[in-house]
Amino acid sequence: MGDRIARSCAAMLLAGVFWAGGAQAQDAKFDAAKYFAGKTIRMQVGFGPGGGTDLQARHFAANWGKYMPGHPRFQVTNITPNTASANRLYKSPPDGLTIELTGSPNVTNQFTVPQAEYKVEENRMIGTHVASASILFAYKTFPYKTLREAVNGKEVIRMGWRTPSQSSAMRMAALSEWLNIPMKFIPGAAGTADSLLELERGDTNVWMPGGAGTAWFGLPVMRPGWLKDGTVRPFAIIEAPDVEVRPNKEISMPADVPYVADLIQDPEHRRQFIALSNLIDRYSKIFMAPPKTPEPIIQAYRTSYEALLKDKEFADKLEVLQGDPVQFTPGDVVERDIKQMVKDYVEFQDQFKIWEEWARKRF
């Protein structure tokens, strides 16, 4: 009984906070400059200090205030693990003083991590600035030129993953089943540098950059000359076929490199594969605000975010930091796509469990 009363009180208190923040912001005469002046905005990152997402967040934090009405101060807060950060954002008051830069849309974790207490489709999206280009690479010693040649092949593809529940590992396991490609997963690499070393050492022969792939654009910086001299070569395009892969600093995408989805004959399998690929690759760095953040506040963020990305000096440095071209996608588009991703996940989640089992078998 007491617990129920306490919970009711807490709910009323929370509702009051939402109402207060919301009412202030939804006022027809909402003055964003006045509202944000002198405030500190907490920019959450679900990774430790020093990683790619953290440094991007620090770059944004140092510059966003110039374009935001009222010129508030932005302060980066690291919260690990990633799911804890997503939980915290979801539960934050919708007063516009807490936002998050995520490393992925966080859709999969919502369903697979038991401790996830958020619904990402309810979050408000400010936008994203990373182009998508997820590519499968093969090392020079691997006999097949492209994935097309590996279909029904005999040579075993060896790739490094951490766990079978990694979405990318699940996706590759499904490909292996459907296209009859022998695959073996090695539990090893902890990041891009380790993965590249695995290739050189011969532990693996094919590399799929984890999460939303940025390696297509980043590889010429990390390993200059590798793509040009054929040390690694693009082996397949993981993206949905409607995503065009632009040239990087060294090469254009060779014409014979297939979109994976085009190799899948069964329309239902193809649909599932594209759905999961969208979940993993479509967006990586997204700025989000808590659910129910009022429209005027979101608009202030979206407008200033777009203006910031148009600042050439800022964008040039961001491009160097992220290793990818800056490509703005407005928040309303991201919001719509994420809702679709969640629907897709719910529709295919039983299927994904089977894929996880397939991945488990390959470890």
Partner: protein, 676 residues
């Protein structure tokens, strides 16, 4: 390449280079001197500033590398003077702090600077010499070699367990078991996480080492009610510091030997600073003729650790620059800065970017020399800290420990880990259990398990025999273990005094019946507690996938076997001297009274952070504790200085710069509800 190198060296004549170098050294010195301030935290704050304000890549990278590269030079100061070890200075604490207690703080620190400085220079030279030839070695040093190397590290547990072999091995096994906490690579099995998200990434090392090592020392020293050194200020002089440095330089042969070991260990992925000092120390002890000196305050022991600890930075730079695989946490930041400046690691670091490679090495050398000079200049003053009552130091160090632990985990989690492991560390001290094997097992356990699994998965179990480097390492490990076992008896005997030896002899003469009927003491309950953990480990992991349950079941079985034997037949046996510091306050008559006072102060502190929050509770504790527990003007001065330090760390660094989410005060919420 020569032109590029000369162009790099040309920076030595520029103001911007010296500005960057001196700034880096200054920041690194602050990191080392202030307990609880971690290098990664400062580098994370510095990196955007560097990337966006310094256009010359060489200057930006040198600044960042200097911060990361020499920040461990002065962390010996709080360790030796205040008995407050960090994860990377546990050996220095074991040997160096005992020397400080005997009034040799200044002398020890002088020697430490010499060893650290020489170590840093050896690391820098090794970096330049090794990079051109390292590529084939790294390409042949894969998962099986790393696993074999870590197993070699585990073999060193036997050295560190001298004097209490069964306890040491058990502690090592418990460390291995603790390394299993979190998500298992390859199967995704959540092991011992109790559904807690924070545990899915494993136990936070900072909070755990603070709990096992630092906090028990602070409690123990506070309970003695005395300063660290009872010898007075007479021994604290510049002359003493210089004498210490001379003593350090005189031991240049062992410094170079252990620096080279540090370079090698630094190159091996996963073997971080928290174990390099122990491994270097263990090798040093094994190779020493006079083993009696160790574990009770040995300058050689400090030099083994410090030379390796400082030279490892050069070693860690090698895989970072040659392959883009960061050798340590600091190098993750440096690598990121390099990529952001469009500088790719790899062969071009000896060609197009040879200027950067050479200047990192040169800067390491210069920065280490500057650090030695800084240390020599200020130690005489700092060493006076050992002569003030420890309670004043505890008033600052205790809240800083809590703030550090909090920062290592989300919310209350880090503090909870600290509160769980501090009593364990205290009991281990009280019952003479060596703590080093536990840390060694904890850190190397993950390295062994993951790499074994990856090696078997990638190349099959046969690779342990077919790969030449792996096979060599395995042979070395087996041979070393046999040799260590042989020499271990003499080490154990050397550690004991006559009384210990007599007690051991008396126990050996007991009949089986007498041994079985020996009385139960507190330490046996502690042993029983560990056995209960082992039983839980076996039962809890029985449902895991086979590869996920192997480590917990194997380690727990060894713990059960050893401890059952110990409880049944070794109960009457007294543990003599071990490679650790026992409970000093046990010999002080007023320790109980001081302990009760400290317990009350801690209870009030926990109450304060539970009501007004961690930040303000910590500041209040640093201000009030000296006023309540000290007398006279020193109480007021300690209160003001302590308050400023804790305020600076909690508000200035954590709140303003790091923007941390302070944990909600648990009691505050309840009180709020009651009044509403």
């Amino acid at each position: 390449m020569l032109d590029t190198i000369l162009a790099g060296l040309g920076h030595l004549a520029t103001f911007s280079y010296w500005g960057a170098l001196l700034t880096g050294v200054f920041v690194a010195a602050l990191i080392g001197l202030l307990p609880g301030v971690g290098t990664p935290m400062i580098m994370a704050i510095a990196i955007p500033f560097i990337l966006f304000t310094i256009d010359d890549p060489l200057i930006g990278i040198v600044l960042l590398a200097t911060i990361g590269g020499v920040s461990s030079s002065l962390d010996t100061v709080p360790t030796i003077l205040l008995g407050y070890p960090s994860a990377a200075t546990q050996v220095t604490f074991l040997e160096g702090h005992q020397l400080a207690e005997r009034g040799k703080a200044a002398h020890t620190l002088g020697a430490t600077y010499a060893a650290a400085g020489l170590g840093g220079i050896v690391g820098a030279i090794a970096l330049v010499l090794v990079i051109p030839i390292i590529r084939p070695f790294i390409l042949n040093f894969g998962y099986s070699e790393i696993a074999a190397m870590a197993i070699f590290g585990i073999a060193m547990v036997s050295v560190l367990s001298s004097g209490a072999m069964a306890k040491g091995i058990t502690a090592g096994m418990i460390g291995l078991l603790l390394s299993a906490v979190g998500i298992h690579w390859g199967t995704g099995t959540e092991r011992f996480t109790f559904g807690d998200l924070n545990l899915s990434d494993g136990l936070p090392m900072i909070a755990m080492t603070l709990g096992i090592f630092a906090l028990p020392e602070v409690f123990d020293l506070t309970a003695t009610g005395k300063p660290v050194s009872s010898k007075g200020v007479a021994m604290v002089s510049n002359k003493e510091v210089v004498e210490g440095a001379k003593a350090g330089f005189k031991r240049w042969k062992i410094t170079v030997r252990h620096s080279l070991l540090g370079v090698f260990l630094g190159m091996v992925p996963g073997i971080g600073g928290a174990v390099i000092d122990w491994l270097s120390y263990a090798v040093g002890v094994a190779l020493s003729k006079d083993k009696k000196q160790f574990g009770r305050g040995s300058l050689d022991g400090v030099i083994f650790a410090e030379s390796a600890q400082n030279s490892k930075e050069g070693g860690q730079a090698i895989p970072t620059l040659a392959f883009g695989v960061p050798g340590g946490l600091s190098w993750v930041f440096i690598l990121y800065a390099m990529l952001a400046y469009n500088i790719a690691p790899g062969p071009q670091m000896l060609d197009r970017h040879a200027d950067i490679t050479i200047m990192i090495a040169v800067s390491f050398g210069i920065a280490n020399l500057i650090m030695v000079a800084i240390g020599l200049c200020m130690t005489a003053q700092l060493a006076k800290l050992t002569t003030i009552p420890y309670i004043g130091i505890a008033a600052v160090i205790l809240p800083i420990s809590f703030l550090s632990a909090f920062q290592s985990g989300d919310g209350w989690f880090g503090i909870l880990i600290l509160l769980v492991f501090a009593p364990v560390g205290l009991l281990m001290k009280a019952y003479r259990w060596p703590r080093a094997p536990l840390i060694l097992g904890f850190i190397l356990g993950g390295v062994i398990e993951k790499n074994l699994q990856s090696a078997i998965s990638a190349h099959g179990a046969i690779s342990f025999i077919t790969r030449p480097i792996t096979l060599t390492l395995i042979v070395i490990t087996v041979a070393t273990t046999i040799l260590l076992m042989r020499s271990n008896r003499s080490t154990a005997e050397a550690l004991q005094d006559d009384e210990d030896l007599a007690a051991a002899k008396a126990h050996a003469s007991l009949s089986l019946r007498e041994r079985l009927l020996a009385p139960w003491r507190g330490e046996h309950w502690f042993t029983l507690g560990l056995m209960a953990v082992a039983v839980y480990g076996i039962l809890g992991s029985s449902s895991y996938a086979p590869s996920a349950r192997f480590l917990p079941i194997a380690t727990c079985s060894i713990v059960l076997a050893l401890m059952s034997f110990q409880l049944l037949f070794g109960r009457g046996r007294r543990t003599g001297k071990i490679m650790d510091i026992g409970l000093r306050s046990a010999l002080v008559p007023e320790a109980v009274r001081n302990g009760i006072k400290l317990a009350v102060a801690m209870a009030i502190y926990l109450l304060a952070i539970g009501t007004i929050g961690l930040m303000w509770g910590s500041i209040l504790f640093a201000i009030c504790m000296p006023l309540a527990m000290m007398k006279g003007r020193s109480a007021v001065i300690t209160s003001i200085v302590g308050g400023i330090i804790v305020f600076g760390m909690s508000y200035g660094l954590l709140d303003y710069y790091m923007g941390v989410y302070w944990p909600e005060p648990y009691l505050g919420e309840w009180i709020e509800k009651i009044f509403k």
